[in-house]
């Protein structure tokens, strides 16, 4: 936009409202018109379902309209559920491993692609592309790839928990590294060249420059990337469903079973759609516990990494 100030109208307007106050009044009058639809959409689409979800977690219900309030019983059942506890630890392990691997590899790729290698843009596009494929499709494609290899050894990804675990890690790395890489590249490009140059003149090695100049300067990118990969790890659903669906199970002597590769979101889904009429409320309470967990972890992580960000 032009920054010229020789516009006579503009000068006159400024003269009329020197403090800018009179303009605010009509704005306030009409503010509801602008805020209203968005607020309504937010309440209808988020706040109300959220409150209803919390309420339903304390109900026994088949259809939502028939919900009957029963108190905290669902929470007790959920916490006593061995499959839920198993899914929690499995998910936690998965989240930790995937956060580390995705971020280290994404940073490494981003770092390599900001060193002025030929064809950087092509590589960036290629690395980013896996993000454009939906989770379910990805799960099926990768299950075929893994089985193509594993069948040579007379086994399959569905046969062993560790295959399922590492299979999912590989899948998620493949899908997410490109995305995180883009964020890291943006961060790396914002590191001031003069700072790097100063370090070089001072005799810092490449490693020292990376460690003491580059990384502290890309801390905001690290914050956002760890947040995204951590919450993604915890919320993972479709890839989990399509790749192993929880298999293999441990069939316990009493006939119950533990789905060894079932993560939290899939556990909630399976609980919700079991035939037991009491299970809907239990699944809902699991979902509330799940929300609190992901939100708490996310906030702790944000607070922790934010502290390490430097101001340029």
């Amino acid at each position: 936009m032009s920054r010229k100030t020789d516009n006579p109208n503009r000068v006159r307007k400024r003269d009329k409202h020197p403090a800018g106050q009179p303009l605010k009044r009509p704005m306030r009058k009409w503010s509801w018109l602008f805020l209203g639809p968005v607020t309504a959409a937010f309440i209808i689409g988020f706040v109300w379902p959220f409150i209803q979800g919390i309420y339903l977690s304390m109900c026994s219900f088949k259809l939502i309209r028939d919900a009957k309030f029963i108190g905290f019983g669902n929470y007790l059942t959920a916490l006593k559920d061995a499959t839920f506890v198993h899914a929690f630890w499995y998910t936690a392990l998965f989240a930790v491993v995937s956060v580390i691997l995705i971020n280290v590899l994404a940073f490494a790729v981003a770092y390599a692609l900001t060193q002025g290698i030929r064809g950087s843009n092509l590589y960036r596009t290629v690395f980013f592309m896996p993000n454009l494929i939906g989770g379910i499709v990805l799960g099926y494609i990768w299950s075929m790839i893994f089985d193509g290899i594993l069948s040579r050894y007379g086994t399959s990804i569905l046969m062993e928990t560790r295959f399922g675990f590492w299979g999912l890690i590989i899948l998620m790395c493949w899908q997410q590294i490109g995305y995180m890489m883009i964020i890291y590249i943006a961060g790396l490009q914002a590191v001031p060249d003069d700072m790097i140059e100063a370090a070089r003149i001072d005799g810092a090695t490449k490693w020292q420059t990376l460690w003491h100049i580059t990384i502290p300067n890309v801390m905001p990118s690290i914050t956002i990337c760890t947040f995204l990969s951590l919450t993604n790890g915890f919320k993972l659903f479709d890839q989990n469903l399509a790749l192993t669906g929880g298999q293999p199970f441990i069939i316990q002597p009493d006939g119950t079973n533990i789905k060894t590769t079932e993560m939290l979101a899939l556990n909630i889904y399976n609980t919700f759609y079991s035939s037991n009429s009491a299970s809907k409320g239990v699944a809902q309470s699991k979902a509330v516990i799940f929300f609190i967990l992901v939100a708490t972890l996310g906030l702790i992580q944000l607070a922790y990494t934010r502290k390490r960000e430097v101001q340029q």
């Binding site: 119950t256 079973n257 079991s274």
Partner: protein, 438 residues
């Protein structure tokens, strides 16, 4: 730059809002609003057989043209009927006609079903074999078609291998033919069984249907058919299940170690003459009969004494229920539509061709060869194996555990691994029963 960005964001927000307001929720195929006048009630059928969707849409259109009553048919995507039903039933315009397919579903949905005792549609039934009642005796749903399953056979290939269909009378004779074909597969150019994949699209043939032989013989040994889900089962005939299952997976086109994730097209293998035996049901007739016109179906022979007199597994999961929460006008309109479906010559012809057999007095005759085979067995005095499998408690969970155990067994067919199949089969039943009823 900032202003442009703000403008773009504002536009996106407006578009999202408009899209949010304007879009109709369409959970599945064919949910467009139907034509017709809804003042005298309307019909909304939530169908669970994707393969029949096209025919049902046509039948619905015919009815609206004839009577002016709007009929909407929505088909849930394969394997998601329960999820779709649950979300649809919560809406203001809930289905008026839906499926309560087994005793487990009666427990779940019985409260939402209108009592069909002495109703116009119940009076049209020609048998009382396909009625589902709740604990109080309320008639919650009635069958609109029935099906049969067993082992589909290509008689031409059996003859090419130097055998005849008459040879196969029990497990011993079936085994002899199957093993001979498998041993000479290279020379013959075809194998005995089609692939027995254990992925979601195929495992139900073994964990649902074939498992029925165990439940059925257990039921028969106890002297009476189950009328409700038993708390536990004994697994007394599990060895027979094992015998037949082993026969299928060891004498087939695909090595048992490669079955877990599937990816083989058993139907196509059968149609193209790559295998002579195919474990499946009467709904395959339309797909199979063109390539193999004389395809027939034999019972699950599994080594049980007296099985020479066995027939096919006949039953259904296709049960109509009327939504008791629908308005009276809609309930009446739905009832009229159902009666029309089973009495109108043209409509019932179309429905019978997609469904198999409709057990109603005035419905069209079936042209399904496998159901004809089922009738032939019954006419010869053989016993019908009823669908005890419909009682499987918490069915998805129960079958999923069985699949996992069978996968481990297929990878390494040891006795120890069979033990865990046994646990999933027998103890799993009790555990899932407790989970549902506990």
């Amino acid at each position: 730059m900032k202003k442009t960005l703000a403008l773009v964001l504002a536009l996106v927000l407006c578009l999202a809002l408009l899209a949010g307001c304007g879009s109709k929720q369409e959970p599945a195929q064919g949910s467009a609003e139907p034509a017709g006048d809804a003042s005298n009630g309307s019909v909304y059928w939530l169908n669970f057989k994707p393969e029949s969707d096209e025919v049902l849409q046509e039948v619905a259109k015919m009815y609206t043209e004839e009577t002016g009553v709007p009929v909407k048919v929505v088909t849930a995507a394969s394997g998601t009927y329960n999820q779709t039903l649950m979300s649809e039933m919560d809406k203001a315009s809930a289905p008026t006609l839906f499926v309560i397919g087994n005793q487990d579903a009666v427990k779940e949905w019985g409260d939402y079903a209108l009592d069909l005792t002495d109703s116009a549609i119940a009076k049209e039934l020609n048998t009382d074999a396909y009625e589902l009642r709740d604990a109080d005796g309320k008639l919650c749903s009635i069958g609109y078609c029935y099906e049969c399953y067993g082992i589909i056979v290509n008689p031409d290939l059996i003859e090419q291998a130097g055998h005849t269909m008459d040879e196969i009378k029990n497990f011993e004779s079936l085994k002899a033919v199957v093993e001979d074909i498998h041993a000479r597969a290279d020379e013959l150019g075809f194998d005995a069984f089609t692939s027995c994949d254990m992925d979601d699209s195929s495992s139900w043939r073994f964990t649902g249907h074939m498992a029925n032989l165990e439940y059925f013989y257990e039921e028969q040994a106890a002297g009476a058919a189950w009328t409700e889900c038993p708390e536990s089962i004994t697994g007394a005939y599990l060895d027979n299940y094992k015998a037949l299952y082993d026969l299928c997976v060891t004498n087939s086109l695909t090595d048992r170690k490669d079955l877990a994730t599937g990816g083989h097209d058993a139907e196509n293998e059968f149609i193209t003459g790559k295998a002579a035996f195919f474990v499946n049901g009467s709904w395959e007739y339309a797909a199979v009969s063109e390539a193999v016109p004389n395809a027939t179906m034999i019972p699950y022979y599994c080594g049980v004494q007296g099985e020479e007199k066995a027939g096919l597994n006949c039953g259904t999961e296709n049960y109509w229920a009327i939504n008791s929460a629908a308005s009276e006008a809609d309930q009446q309109a739905t009832m009229d539509f159902m009666v029309w479906c089973v009495t109108d010559p043209e409509a019932s012809r179309m429905l019978v061709d997609t469904f198999g057999v409709m057990p109603y007095k005035q419905a069209a005759e079936s042209t399904n060869g496998f159901l004809a085979a089922a009738d032939a067995y019954t006419a010869a005095g053989n016993y019908v194996m009823d669908w005890a499998t419909n009682y499987q408690p918490n069915v998805d969970e129960y079958r999923a555990a069985l699949v996992s155990a069978l996968n481990a067994y297929n990878a390494d067919p040891t006795d120890a691994n069979w033990e865990s199949v046994k646990t999933a089969f027998v103890d799993g039943w009790a555990a899932q029963y407790a989970a549902v009823n506990g």
